[in-house]
């Protein structure tokens, strides 16, 4: 547990010192969503119709942008070797780093999401569902992302490879995340998409840390 706290605290400190990285993710999120708004034109009906899908898609792409560096920085400067030799279980290492990633990128996306949704004229009834679905969905993005980021370590053009690897896996999260918001806007019950997202979160939490830990051990060989 000592190791978990130490790694979590270190990663959060590094994220605060390198604020630019989180800011870039948020800026990407806002700009990509704005592109959609310009692309479909100013008609309020059209925008509010697609708002849920656009907010979710751009949030997902923004999260992806930050994942490449999750382990790569530690891998490049030798820290990953030292972490794996520090006596901390690799799974604990993955959990701590993934939680730190979610607390910075995931939470930042959550905070920015209402503003982005407002820009896309999401109807007022959709905001609650947007926040809940993002709250359940963004940790899944971080967990799956950790597996991908660990697998592409050491590969050339790892960023592109990471997108090819992760985007298909993100589809279920996108479908049910956007469905929750869509349902809330149309006045339907949103329990089902929440339940699926919750289930996916539990599944990701049980499988991803082990997969990522194994990939990390292979990466340093």
């Amino acid at each position: 547990m000592n190791g978990f706290n130490a790694i979590l605290r270190r990663d959060l400190t590094l994220a605060i010192r390198n604020q630019g990285e989180v800011m870039m993710v948020i800026a990407f999120f806002a700009i990509a969503a704005t592109l959609f708004a310009f692309g479909v034109g100013p008609e309020a009906n059209v925008q509010s119709r697609i708002a849920s899908g656009v907010v979710w898609t751009t949030a997902l792409l923004a999260a992806l942008l930050s994942l490449e560096r999750l382990f790569a920085v530690d891998y490049d400067d030798g820290t990953l070797d030292q972490l794996l030799l520090s006596g901390v279980e690799p799974v604990v290492l993955v959990l701590a780093k993934t939680l730190a990633h979610w607390l910075t990128t995931g939470v930042a996306l959550l905070i920015a999401a209402p503003a982005v949704a407002l820009g896309l004229q999401l109807p007022a009834t959709g905001y609650g569902a947007l926040m809940i679905s993002l709250l359940l969905g963004t940790p899944i993005l971080s967990l799956l992302g950790a597996v991908g980021a660990a697998i592409v370590l050491g590969a050339r053009r790892g960023g592109v490879l990471l997108s090819l690897l992760l985007l298909p896996l993100y589809i279920p999260v996108l479908i049910f995340g956007a469905a929750a918001v869509e349902g809330a806007v149309l006045g339907m019950t949103t329990t089902a998409p929440y339940a699926v997202l919750g289930g996916l979160l539990i599944l990701a939490l049980t499988l991803c840390p082990w997969a990522a830990a194994t990939a990390l051990k292979h990466a340093v060989e």
Binding site: N2, D81, Q82, P90
Partner: protein, 221 residues
Amino acid sequence: MTIENFPTAVFCGENLSCRRGGRSVFTGLSFRVTSGEALVLRGPNGSGKTTLLRLMAGLARTASGTLTWNSGDIRDDGPAHGARLGFAGHLDAVKPALTVQENLSFWAELRGANQADVTQALEIFSMAHLANLPGRVLSAGQKHRVALARLLLGNTQLWLLDEPANTLDDIALNALRNVLGEHLQRGGIAVIASHGDALLAQANTLDLRHFIQNKPIMAAA
């Protein structure tokens, strides 16, 4: 820092061979080091000194052969082997955004050392005046001293050092000699890859040239 001696230990490798990129690096390599002894690895560039150190750390995997610590296979408990070893490789694992003090405190926390240990380690490598400087402003030699100071945190019995004298000035080199001498005196074990001047007055030498894969079959015929 605890002054007490280490328990007697034996670190053995038997019939080790290793392949990298489909090419055999060395085969049939065996060694044995016990408490208070140092083993110096020699050999030309590419003869596998770094690879052997990473095998010994448990970071890389052997193609065949076993590595044992007190007759227990090191792969049986990776985290336990990590906890007993200090590894100083080519990469210094110093975070540019953290101060020297913060860098070392993080590793101290992971390895169960305290702030007094960090202060002492900084003093031993004459870095007390650098404690509050961020890692990004350090020179290569200073970063390397931080990496060496990390060895003193957490009471590790087995030190694996890859060209530890690189980039060090005379003062730091002397500090390293003293620290190594004390480590061995306490019953520690050190394996050092080096092709420069001897760091230690007496040490067993393992020349990796003897274990390079035999010539092609034609030459044998």
